[in-house]
C-alpha cells in the first residue's frame, strides 16, 4: 500500500499523522480513498469543480506528477507519495 506524507498544516484533518498508508492503484483513487476516510479534508484538497487545489503539488518517489501521468499515474505498493503545498496569493 503506498505511503503518503502530508504537510504539517494539514495533519489536523488526518488524525494528526504526518504519514500514513492508503490504498489506491492510481493517484486519483488514492486521493478518493483518503477523502473517504477523512471527509473534512475534501473542501481543502479539492475546489468546487473537483480539481485538486492549485497550491498542492504531488510527488511520487520524488518525481512531480506533471512529469508522470498526472492524477492517472499508477501507483505501486511501495511508492512514496508526498503531498506538498506551495503558498501563493496576490
Amino acid at each position: 500500500m503506498p505511503n503518503i506524507r502530508f504537510p504539517a498544516l494539514m495533519k489536523y484533518y488526518v488524525d494528526n499523522q504526518s504519514e500514513f498508508y492508503a490504498a489506491g492503484s492510481t493517484v486519483n483513487t488514492l486521493l478518493d480513498n483518503i477523502v473517504t476516510r477523512y471527509p473534512a479534508l475534501k473542501t481543502h484538497l479539492f475546489d468546487s469543480n473537483g480539481n485538486l487545489r492549485r497550491h498542492f503539488n504531488i510527488f511520487i518517489n520524488g518525481v512531480h506528477l506533471r512529469e508522470l501521468n498526472g492524477l492517472e499515474t499508477e501507483l505501486k505498493e511501495d511508492d512514496k507519495v508526498i503531498l506538498m503545498a506551495s503558498a501563493a496569493g496576490g
Partner: protein
C-alpha cells in the same frame, strides 16, 4: 488574536518596502497564535506578475517547514505585501489560502509600509475573518 513583537512587525514592514514595487512574502513561524520568527522567501512568480502576485515554491515551503521543526515551532502563517493597494485579502488570496494559517497583509504605499492586518480563512473557505494583531 495574533501576537507579534514590534521588532518582527518592523521586519515584515521592511521586507515589504524592500520588495516594492513587487510583492514580498514569507512565512510566520511560531506557536499558538504567537509569531516567534519570520522566514522571508523569494517571490517565485514571473517578472510581470510580481507586482500583484506572490508564489512560494514547494521547495521553499519545505525548507521553511524543516526550519520551524528544527526550532521546535510550526509554520503558523504567511505574510505578504500589497504594493499601493489596501491590506485586505483578494479573491486570489482566498483561492490559495490554507486553513489555520494567519495571513498578515501589509499595505505599502509609494515604497513605505503603512499598516499590517491579519486574516484567517473561514473553515468553509467562504471568506476571510480579520484577527487582531497584538503587539507584544
Amino acid at each position: 488574536m495574533l501576537a507579534v513583537s514590534r521588532e518582527l512587525l518592523a521586519r515584515i514592514h521592511r521586507d515589504g518596502e524592500e520588495a516594492y514595487p513587487e510583492e514580498g512574502a514569507g512565512f510566520l513561524i511560531g506557536n499558538e497564535g504567537s509569531v516567534v520568527e519570520i522566514f522571508p522567501l523569494p517571490n517565485a512568480r514571473e517578472d510581470t506578475a510580481r507586482h500583484n502576485r506572490y508564489l512560494i515554491t514547494p521547495e521553499d515551503y519545505l525548507k521553511a517547514e524543516l526550519t520551524a521543526d528544527r526550532l521546535g515551532l510550526s509554520l503558523i502563517g504567511v505574510f505578504h505585501s500589497h504594493p499601493d493597494h489596501p491590506n485586505r485579502p483578494s479573491e486570489f488570496d482566498r483561492d490559495w489560502a490554507q486553513p489555520f494559517f494567519s495571513y498578515i497583509i501589509t499595505s505599502v504605499n509609494k515604497g513605505k509600509a503603512i499598516e499590517s492586518r491579519s486574516w484567517l480563512l473561514k473553515e468553509d473557505r467562504s471568506e476571510f475573518l480579520e484577527e487582531k494583531i497584538q503587539i507584544k
